[in-house]
Symmetry: C2
Subunit: 251 residues, 2 copies
């Protein structure tokens, strides 16, 4: 049996807030962490705690951003931020800019979105992805170990679109203490046929499962604890999930 437990009662997170401490505190009302738990945290609150928030009125769009804003029908200031957060623009259509972001992820809008950011007066703010989501996950893991005296794994998730399927699903953009992929090639199945090509996106499946409890705004419940999954402790990186360019058949 697997349990997904929401961390309830977190306040709206602002820059500098001690996110790990707040999560430990709120989750103590649900019995607290146990060894082997996997904490999944929505990217948005990690970004906000890390101050990765930009006021659009402070952004000066470049020529390139103005052109791309025209093609995508997006706010030029938002497009400027998308370009700064990207290595390459992969696809553009009205309403959508798909990029390879600076972390290597293929995603819409470099992971920047506008929902659930508080508006201060006229100045609209957006949240960028954490600079290094694996490092963010490691920091959360280390801090929880100190505060709660418990070894948990941490996944930072975001909602990504897919190339061929509608609807966003939770994926892992940062992780600490668990594998990114579960490579079962060479294992045998029940009838002893050697399994082939069975590398499971285990961290992404965990991210998707937690996303079921998070909802679209990702802030009512921005943290979920997955309990009951036996995984080895690992020093993996979410970047392992990104397919290398030379094996990419669809770009």
């Amino acid at each position: 049996m697997l349990s997904l437990l929401p961390v309830v009662g977190l306040p709206l997170i602002r820059k500098g807030d001690p996110l790990a401490d707040l999560i430990v505190d709120c989750f103590s009302n649900t019995g607290g962490f146990r060894s082997g738990d996997i904490l999944v945290v929505a990217q948005k609150v990690v970004s906000k705690a890390e101050g990765r928030v930009v006021r659009l009125e402070d952004v000066e769009p470049s020529e390139e951003a103005l052109e791309l804003a025209h093609a995508s029908l997006k706010d030029p200031r938002l497009v400027e931020l998308i370009l700064r957060e990207s290595r390459e623009v992969v696809r553009v259509r009205p309403g959508l800019i798909v990029v390879e972001d600076v972390r290597g992820f293929i995603c819409a809008n470099a992971g920047i979105d506008r929902s659930n950011i508080e508006q201060h007066g006229e100045g609209e703010e957006v949240a960028l992805l954490p600079l290094d989501p694996d490092a963010s996950a490691s920091d959360l893991r280390d801090r929880i170990k100190r505060v709660a005296q418990t070894a948990v794994a941490v996944v930072i998730n975001d909602s990504h679109g897919r190339a061929f399927r509608d609807g966003t699903v939770g994926v892992a953009i940062g992780l600490a203490g668990l594998p990114a992929l579960s490579d079962r090639r060479g294992d045998t199945d029940l009838t002893s046929y050697e399994l082939q090509h069975t590398v499971i996106g285990i961290a992404d499946e965990i991210a998707a499962a937690a996303s079921l409890l998070m909802g679209p705004a990702n802030e009512g419940i921005p943290a979920v604890v997955v309990r009951g999954l036996k995984l080895p402790v690992s020093e993996a990186s979410a970047r392992e999930i990104q397919r290398p360019r030379k094996l990419d058949l669809f770009r």
Copy 2:
């Protein structure tokens, strides 16, 4: 809180086996179904119960299959089946054939794989996807309602690769009694900013979550019950998840 409960003790499924009855029987040891439960069943056992199993030695590869087998380094008889189950070959590289299958899904090998099929003497067998996975899910749902007197939703899941990310994840290929997508466009978030582009692949997230308990062979635990997710009853189809060709940016 969300619970994922494995249905344990299912026998190896063969053609004609009463899958719904067997699931109800096995799950009664875990307390049985409750109204609102979502039953996720691995494609492989549905296919086997429906007799969607083919002996490779009975397959005569066409010229086209022989050529594609050469390019993909796959068994020509398997390639013949992949072609019969497909509308279009989308990408080929050694070890991989990505197709649009007859159901409209973009997937590797038209969903055909070789693991966990019993080998009878020298004759190796493979399982094709159910002809109409939504209908298969509906049948399971109706039968469970009769046998267990409980209204459950049903998802048939399979493991799919992704365009840009390594590792397979569980996705919904058939469903009954729940939405395929959760369209939250127009809802407002905590700070009253109107959410945009927020169509959630809810059935896929459920499929991925259940996949965490199924393991790669998909037969040790081929059925998982998801409990605690409040979703409206819906007559949706898993085909709604497939992005229409005209909106496909990557083919």
